[in-house]
Symmetry: C2
Subunit: 245 residues, 2 copies
DNA sequence: TTAGTTAGATGCAGATCGCATATATGGTGC
DNA sequence: GCACCATATATGCGATCTGCATCTAACTAA
């Protein structure tokens, strides 16, 4: 960047700066489908609409730290899988002022998702409806999880529907060459649970023997010898995720 | 975000805001390897070091628009393939002040890369040395393209070496399921040229018959019937990229 | 006309994947 | 204890994909 441009920007009064925020998609799985935790907006704009937890980035705060703070303050969660998604900077996204928002994706295994949902009553668990296959992209709808079967989709504030859609898109894209799938599982899990996670994210059924072979041949799974309890049929072996060096 | 936090941030005097910038990786291919266009910094900090072209984001300017402006002003280029990479927000990245930077990747076919390099003498074409395979990640070194064979690596300013590494990483990841490869080619190209692009990005040789089959079976290539000229051997057919709907 | 060089096609072995099916192992009900 | 059930786990096979060697085609240069 040129020095005169820098000097102009160096004086905050000379040029107005966009505000910088982070928004975090708190993603888990419920009933075999992706689900997110949303907050109901009380004030204008988008009063009554549902929004992702978010917050402004402090002047002495890293982007990652801001996302972790949001996670801690709004969901009572520490240190799940957290990754940056994309930065949204269109002009009209917040009608009050110019806000550029860095979107983050947090992956919550069932226990953490439930704990956040119960510990923070204002967080609404919402089932995500992804009407497209593969990595096509497109809008994503959110539906209340509690309550009866059929209900109206939740109205999402700002461009948060786009952020949710991007979260699914990224997850689908990374699912089978990275280790993100394991971030949605407890430390010990069965191959069936792992397959359930993949099926929920991808939104399609997978072939069981092929899936098992692929996962076991990858060498990321360590058999523990222990078996799951509580089933009324043959118990499955519990595996542990071995980080691929 | 809560309303009190919003009100505090609404008043720019109440809380200091990070400055927001974009940095653009101008990527092309030279001598069968990835290459980028860099600017030599005149002033402190990192005087004499090499940096990505960049600029501050205007208050009424989209992130994409800021990247396009940088491309136009610093490289004289309009409308290449341009995509957002990642947002860098660590605390010490600029010693003068807190700057959060949204990194963009611009892909330049040979003609555009050469035109920018010649039209803007301050832009230095630099060969990128990627010492890792696949999508492992790690540092990337830049070497001057002009001049003699062996020379010292260029000292890169700020965290721009990380940004270059991420650009290569993304490109490698997207190369064979997306259409980014075609952004580095002219409108009409031969299968050999397409393979050269893939080999340069991936940093490894590919099997010719397998590559041809894969590309032709994908259905994105339209044979034009025309053939390349100027070769002293059998001329290859020219293809056109057909956007996959 | 011949040699040289690259484009483009073909055949085949090994790996991968989807799918059907067989066997193993726990609990449950009698 | 024993048949039965539901699921885990293993196996076999055909279709597809990939890497690789090799073959044929087409153009230039001499």
């Amino acid at each position: 960047m040129s020095e005169d441009a820098f000097l102009a920007a160096y004086d905050p009064a000379a040029y107005e700066r966009p505000a910088l925020a982070v928004d975090v998609v708190l993603l888990g799985l419920r009933e075999g489908r992706p689900a997110a935790l949303l907050l109901r907006r009380a004030q204008h704009p988008f009063a009554g609409f549902w929004a992702l937890p978010g917050g402004f980035v402090g002047i002495g705060e890293t982007l990652d730290a801001a996302a972790e703070r949001v996670l801690r303050e709004k969901a009572g969660i520490a240190a799940p899988h957290l990754e940056q998604l994309y930065t949204f900077g269109t002009l009209g996204r917040d009608p009050r002022m110019r806000i550029v928002s860095v979107a983050y994706l947090a992956l919550l295994p069932d226990r953490a998702f439930a704990a956040a949902s119960e510990g923070m009553p204002e967080l609404m668990p919402a089932r995500l409806d992804v009407p497209w296959r593969g990595e096509a992209g497109g809008p994503v709808a959110a539906f209340p999880l509690q309550g009866s079967a059929r209900s109206e989709p939740l109205s999402l504030a700002f461009d948060h529907a786009d952020i949710l859609a991007l979260a699914i898109l990224r997850l689908r894209g990374k699912l089978d060459y990275s280790d993100v799938g394991f971030a949605l599982l407890p430390e010990l899990f069965t191959l069936r649970q792992l397959q359930d996670v993949h099926e929920a994210i991808l939104g399609l059924p997978l072939n069981k023997p092929a899936f098992r072979r692929r996962m076991l041949d990858r060498g990321w799974l360590e058999p523990t010898g222990a078996r799951e309890a509580g089933s009324s049929f043959r118990p499955a072996e519990l595996y542990r995720f071995l980080r691929p060096r």
